[in-house]
């Protein structure tokens, strides 16, 4: 192919759009996420053919069909395994993995955990709408206790999983949260996720307009977001509030909301966000801060450096190929260490 012309041509959002009709429900939060990723990728300087989008099963997992890249719509919960195989086979590729709260945290919880702890250099977007959409409205592992659905007519009784704590438990090296109503924020988080060397876990608060409409409204609705979202930025004070300036400070080892008024955050001992803390306590504290007791934090909660699984496998192979053992021919290894001649 005339690769020169392609290289010269700067990629645009259009290059990442497929001609296929997008078949999500009108008003679904997925549209904004798709749009944001399509806007983000052209800016990252990676040739389009090096992108692979992998997904499991669920509404969110139709995503690859709408991205004009290499794509693989796999089976329920198992996207992390395919994504790991792709990345290990060819570490040059940039792999995005799309999953949901059911796909990633219920049927696929095991694979997600292992992908996170291995630090496979894959970018994970977990669409969390706290409901099963494609199977029409059953409760999910992130639904709050008491959620009434067709399978839980008296209200759900099982404690929901906190996706950020889950990722932290597996010591993911990049943990972030964003919201489907804020494309600018999504794009900045997606960019940082791709640029992070290692696994990137991004929880997206996403609205299911049919089966769980407005589930995040108290957190990110137009009227609520200034008071109930805490936008984290590295080395910046944790401040929020529309009318009244508020901040987060520590009382002993417990976070608390403090009123700032016109006071300087430093004076009021407001915490400054440090996403690069290697220990897990700090991120755990952020993960447990949730509406209504706290503003819910969004942004990059944690980002630390660790060697990646795929690069280490690759390095071990390169090292082995340079070793004395590599001087053996295929015929030599088939003969093995001990032969006799008749």
């Amino acid at each position: 192919m005339s690769t020169e012309t392609l290289e010269e041509k700067k990629l645009t959002k259009k290059d990442f759009v497929t001609p296929n009709d997008v078949r999500w429900c009108p008003g679904c939060g997925d549209y904004a996420i798709l749009n944001s990723l399509q806007r983000c990728l052209p800016e990252l300087g990676v040739p389009k053919e090096n992108y692979v989008v992998v997904s499991g099963i669920g509404c969110s997992s139709r995503f690859p069909y709408y991205m004009n890249t290499y794509g693989f719509h796999t089976i329920h919960g198992r996207a992390p395994t395919i994504a790991t195989g792709v990345k290990v086979a060819n570490p040059e590729l940039i792999v995005w993995m799309i999953t949901g709260d059911g796909d990633g945290l219920s049927i696929g919880g095991n694979h997600l955990m292992h992908m996170l702890r291995r630090n496979v250099d894959v970018n994970i977007l977990l669409f969390n709408n706290r409901v099963y959409g494609l199977t029409k409205g059953q409760y999910s592992p992130t639904s709050p206790v008491g959620t009434r659905t067709k399978t839980t007519p008296s209200g759900s009784i099982d404690n929901p999983i906190n996706p950020i704590l889950f990722a932290l438990g597996a010591e993911a090296t990049f943990i972030a949260r964003t919201v489907d109503t804020n494309p600018k924020h999504m794009i900045s988080v997606f960019k940082a996720a791709q640029e992070h060397k290692g696994v990137s876990f991004v929880e997206i608060f996403q609205n299911c307009v049919i089966f769980n409409n407005k589930t995040w409204e108290p957190v990110y609705g137009r009227q609520n977001r200034d008071d109930n979202l805490l936008i984290l930025e590295a080395d910046q004070p944790m401040v929020f509030g529309k009318e009244e300036k508020m901040g987060i400070s520590l009382n002993g080892s417990t976070p608390e909301v403090v009123k700032l008024g016109d006071a300087d955050p430093v004076e009021k001992n407001v915490l400054f966000h440090k996403p690069d803390q290697t220990g897990s306590l700090y991120t755990a504290m952020l993960a447990e801060m949730e509406y209504p007791n706290f503003p819910t934090p969004v942004g990059i909660l944690r980002q630390v450096d660790k060697p990646t699984y795929d690069s280490q496998i690759h390095e071990q192979v390169v090292e082995a190929k340079a070793s004395d053992a590599a001087k053996a021919s295929l015929q030599d290894i088939v003969y093995g260490p001990s032969t006799w001649t008749i």
Binding site: R78, G85, A325, T339, W340, I342
Partner: protein, 617 residues
């Protein structure tokens, strides 16, 4: 014992002999079995081995479940099986005697470690009275009682080791003594001991060699009036040989096949008996570019392999029966997306955990039919340890040529069993270059090669060929399609493609005449037993032939024609009759099943008896 002639006073020459070493699972029976194998191979015997160990790593010492055994048949003629019943049994404790005595040939050599026949050990083995003291063994066997513990400690009196550690060497005493009885040199074993422990643990190396020699000299000095035996070199084709087990051959076959196909090999597995040694084996070949990953579970293992195939590697995964159940959904996805993938099933006794360290061939129908929907994929099976090499290359050929997942069936008997192998020249295997789609040309995901109906892969990183695949039904261009007739067309063409594989396989080889009274039809690990049986019956003039199938789906096209030549068709299998069902349903042929499911390979005698029955009917 197959006595040919009494050659000299000192040695009785045998055409073949079967020896079984049995003891506690901590007694090192596998180690000395392996050593006897190496020595016999180096000497030039043909041979076959069968390790038989318990599912528990260390069941309580002295108990029946803790007994571990290793059987070897050596011969100056062609040896295809480890033998039906041992001519000589070494039993290191009462439990080993209790488990294995019934199999020993009448008049066979029975070597017992008398030191282990304590009251407690006898009780654990279920003996009311001590067989060394009562009449039960007398006159039935060539009984040799040796206080192996005593002689082991005695021979190590000058070595600084605890008595407990010294006694760990006692297996080498038994080995040394058997070397004396069967007139074997100690050289190969001494070399082994020196290379294994000489540098790291010289004291242990020294101790093992001393004990080995003590066993040999014990024979020389105290058993001078005893018969000794000699199994002469086998007359085999000239060439360079090695000893090989099925899983080792499989590892080398996969590496060779990947090289021939110019694809990087990525193997992903999860530990399971008896497939773990494939993952372990491949992990040692990083210098050949092999990526071998231990996944978090069976599902992840196949998912990682399939992801690697999508990215242009050769993805391979391996497991045993229960793991196949977990992989089934992914095999469906690989079928729908038409990606090359090799899936190894090293069968064991089931269902469920079943007999994890015993052999069976009961996953054939699972391999062929065990998926949701109409999802045909090729299935092939290896027939001997060394044949795993050839069959692995064949699996790769089919997977890449037809862009399909394929199931490779082996079994525990082949995986762990070993035989001498005339190592082929790797240059004798043709290149299998299956190109990826060409950049710059329009790409349609499911447009097909009209010859074999295969699609062409385009892989991530190729410019301009971006496309999406997945589990949803697609049309030829690769778009999701719910169109009723498209689904039928795609279902048919996927199935037709698999049938095409049969056009690429060589004619079925018939062992014996093309017509006759009985044809035995086998597959997989029963090759040795069936072939031994058929050859000896043919030598006796009976009208029997056999075929052994490597390709099980699709079955060879020439089978109906072959079946026409025989009055009766016998299908011996270590299952309840699975190939039998296939043959009957596909060819409307009145096959006769012969099934044994005891976790052990067929005994040649059992088969021979069955065929005699058929001949007499």
């Amino acid at each position: 014992m197959d006595t040919q002639s009494t050659h000299a006073e000192e040695f009785q020459e045998l055409e073949s002999v079967v020896i079984r070493f049995a003891g506690d699972s901590g007694d090192g029976m596998q180690t000395i079995g392996e050593r006897f194998t190496d020595s016999s191979a180096a000497f030039g015997n043909d041979l076959a081995t069968f390790p038989d160990f318990p599912a528990e790593i260390r069941a309580p010492a002295g108990t029946i479940p803790g007994v571990s055994a290793f059987q070897i048949q050596i011969g100056s003629r062609e040896i295809l099986t480890p033998g039906d019943r041992p001519d000589a049994l070494v039993a290191m404790n009462p439990a080993a005697l209790a488990v294995h005595l019934s199999e020993l040939e009448e008049g066979g050599i029975l070597v017992l470690n008398s030191a282990a026949f304590s009251h407690e050990n006898l009780r654990m083995a279920g003996y009311d009275s001590n067989p060394l003291e009562d009449e039960s063994l007398i006159g039935k066997y060539e009984l040799i009682q040796v206080d192996i513990n005593h002689f082991t400690l005695e021979s190590l009196s000058e070595i600084e080791m605890s008595n407990k550690d010294k006694l760990r060497c006692k297996n080498f005493f038994a080995l040394g003594f058997m070397y004396w009885i069967y007139s074997r040199s100690l050289e190969t074993t001494i070399e082994f001991i020196e290379s294994k422990w000489g540098k790291k643990l010289p004291v242990l190396a020294d101790a093992n060699i001393k004990v080995l020699k003590a066993g040999y000299f014990f024979g020389e000095t105290t058993e001078t009036s005893r018969n000794r035996y000699m199994v002469a070199k086998a007359e085999v084709e000239a060439g360079k040989y090695r000893k090989i087990s099925g899983n080792d051959a499989l590892v080398l076959g996969l590496i060779t096949g990947a090289e021939k196909a110019k694809r990087n090999l990525l193997y992903s597995g999860y530990p399971i008996t008896p497939a773990s040694s494939i993952l372990e084996g491949l992990a040692a070949y990083k210098h050949f570019g092999v990526k071998a990953l231990q996944a978090e579970d069976e599902i992840a293992a196949i998912g990682i392999a399939l992801g690697a195939s999508f990215a242009g590697n050769l993805g391979v995964t391996g497991t045993s029966g229960p793991g196949m159940c977990l992989k089934a959904e992914f095999i469906g996805l690989a079928t729908a997306t038409e990606l090359p993938l090799v899936i190894l099933n090293i069968q064991r006794g089931g269902p469920s955990t079943g007999l994890p360290t015993k052999t069976e061939q009961s996953d054939l129908l699972q391999a062929i039919y065990g998926r949701h929907s109409d999802a045909q994929i090729p299935v092939i099976a290896a027939n001997s340890p060394s044949d795993c090499f050839e069959t692995a290359i064949e699996a790769i050929r089919i997977a890449l040529t037809y862009c399909t997942p394929i199931i490779f069936l082996s079994d525990l008997y082949l995986a762990n069993g070993a035989e001498p192998w005339k190592v082929p020249s790797v240059d004798s295997y043709p290149q299998m270059d299956v190109p990826f789609a060409e950049e710059g040309k329009p790409y349609s995901t499911f447009s097909r090669n009209p010859e074999n109906l295969s699609r062409t892969l385009a892989i991530p990183g190729q410019t301009g060929l971006e496309h999406r695949i997945g589990g949803l039904e697609k049309d030829e261009s690769g778009n999701v399609s719910y169109d009723p007739s498209n689904h039928e067309d795609m279902t048919l063409i996927r199935s037709e493609k698999i049938k095409k594989v049969a056009e690429s396989i060589p004619p079925t080889e018939i062992f014996g005449e093309k017509t006759g009274k009985v044809l035995a039809v086998g597959w997989g690990g029963t090759f040795g037993s069936i072939t031994s049986c058929i050859r000896s019956m043919q030598a006796e003039g009976f009208s029997v032939s056999s075929i052994h199938l490597r390709h099980l789906n699709p079955l060879p096209n020439d089978l109906p024609k072959i079946f026409e030549g025989f009055e009766k068709i016998l299908v011996p299998e270590l299952n309840m009759g699975q190939l039998n069902v296939l043959l009957r349903s596909q060819f409307l042929v009145d096959t006769i099943p012969f099934n044994i499911v005891q976790g052990q390979p067929f005994k040649v005698k059992e088969l021979t008896k069955k065929i005699h029955e058929l001949l007499q009917d």
